[in-house]
């Protein structure tokens, strides 16, 4: 399944909790799909795919947004809490701190949806919990 297939399937999907998905493909060197969960005010999710993985990412904050004096504490907090966050992990891409989930390319649409919803909810909790570390 490529990102266009995901966009089509996600656009038609509605979860038991009533979540649906607005999808937008972003043109560029690699295929990226931007997904927003309708009826859930959160962060946009970006989906890209390698040969073996589907990667769902939320960009949380940048280095510049962190209070310098609290940076170490924040990093420790991220390490300490990472394992508790269901289906998602922290990461950093360049200057951006991210929350992401990775699935096998063989995953079905239900698994992808589960990941997207969990990631959205997790991101909101993470930013809310880490707010004090941010400028």
């Amino acid at each position: 399944m490529n990102t266009v297939d995901f966009a089509i399937q996600l656009s038609q999907y509605r979860t038991a909790e009533g979540f649906s998905f607005d999808c937008q493909t972003i043109a560029g060197e690699v295929e990226v799909l931007q997904v927003e969960v309708s009826n859930f005010d959160g962060f946009p999710i970006f989906i890209t795919q390698t040969k073996s993985q589907i990667i769902c990412i939320i960009y949380l904050w940048t280095e510049a947004e962190i209070k310098p004096e609290l940076r170490l504490e924040m990093l420790e907090m991220m390490l300490d809490t990472s394992i508790s966050i269901p289906l998602s992990s922290y990461g950093r891409v360049g200057e951006h701190y991210v929350l992401y989930g990775a699935l096998s390319v063989n995953s079905d649409i239900d698994s992808v949806v589960e990941e997207i919803v969990a990631l959205s909810e997790n991101a909101l909790d993470v930013v809310s919990a880490m707010e004090d570390f941010l400028q």
Binding site: V30, F46, Q49, T50, Q53, I55, W61, G94, V127, Q135
Partner: protein
């Protein structure tokens, strides 16, 4: 990590870590350029070829081993038959025939011993090849895993560049977590307050309307029933 150093293969994660720690564009290019992926892909091709070859040799050796087993079984049967014939000859008092049959049994036993040795050799070879095959499988999986790391790193770097570019062109607020959180909170507050007012005003106006209607038109019984219906609908809302 230390194991990988000992066995002397490239640890992709170490390369990626070096890349991340370094600001050097040269190193970035070295790790992320096509050559690195191509080298791993060549390794993958080699591992795939070795695996295919090992499977082919294994299949051939399996056939040899099966053939030896079949021959040993045939010889076992023949020997059993000959021995039965010897017993029959001896019981009939035909010692000459029994001796002749016994010499044939000696030949058959020699053949069986040779075939058993061959079978044993095939079994040993099979065991060795199976171990080789498992090594090739492991090697293949390992190269695939390392290639996945490189591809994923490359993909995420590129995807982030695409997303950044998109944000620069359109809506940069998405990159600020705190602002997004504040926006979400203020939106939720806006949604919460008017909805409370709306609920309260709805209930009040409904009650007033109900009062007006009941005062004017209907019998007590019907009024009560209608009031119950309206109450249910209001509560549902």
């Amino acid at each position: 990590m230390s194991d990988s150093k000992k066995i002397g293969r490239v640890n992709v994660l170490e390369k990626i870590m070096t890349l991340i720690r370094s600001e050097s564009q040269f190193l970035r290019d070295t790790v992320m350029d096509g050559d690195f992926s191509r080298n791993l892909e060549a390794e993958l091709d080699d591992a795939t070829f070795n695996l295919k070859q090992a499977k082919s040799v294994l299949s051939e050796e399996l056939n040899n081993q099966l053939q030896s087993s079949r021959l040993v079984k045939i010889l076992d049967d023949k020997i059993n038959q000959q021995e039965q014939l010897i017993i029959n000859s001896l019981s009939e008092g035909d010692e000459e025939r029994a001796f002749l049959l016994a010499t044939e049994v000696v030949d058959l036993e020699q053949d069986r011993a040779a075939q058993n040795a061959l079978k044993l050799s095939h079994e040993r070879q099979l065991g060795y090849l199976q171990a080789q095959l498992e090594n090739a499988e492991r090697s293949l999986k390992d190269v695939q895993r390392r290639l996945t790391m490189v591809n994923t790193t490359e993909r995420i770097q590129k995807a982030t560049a695409v997303i950044n570019k998109n944000f620069e062109q359109a809506d940069a607020k998405m990159l600020s977590a705190k602002k997004t959180l504040q926006r979400i909170r203020s939106k939720q507050q806006q949604l919460d307050n008017p909805s409370l007012k709306l609920d309260a005003s709805n209930e009040n106006s409904s009650k007033m309307a109900l009062q007006g209607i009941t005062n004017n038109k209907f019998s007590d019984h019907k009024t009560e029933a209608a009031a119950a219906v309206l109450k249910r609908i209001i509560n549902t809302d």
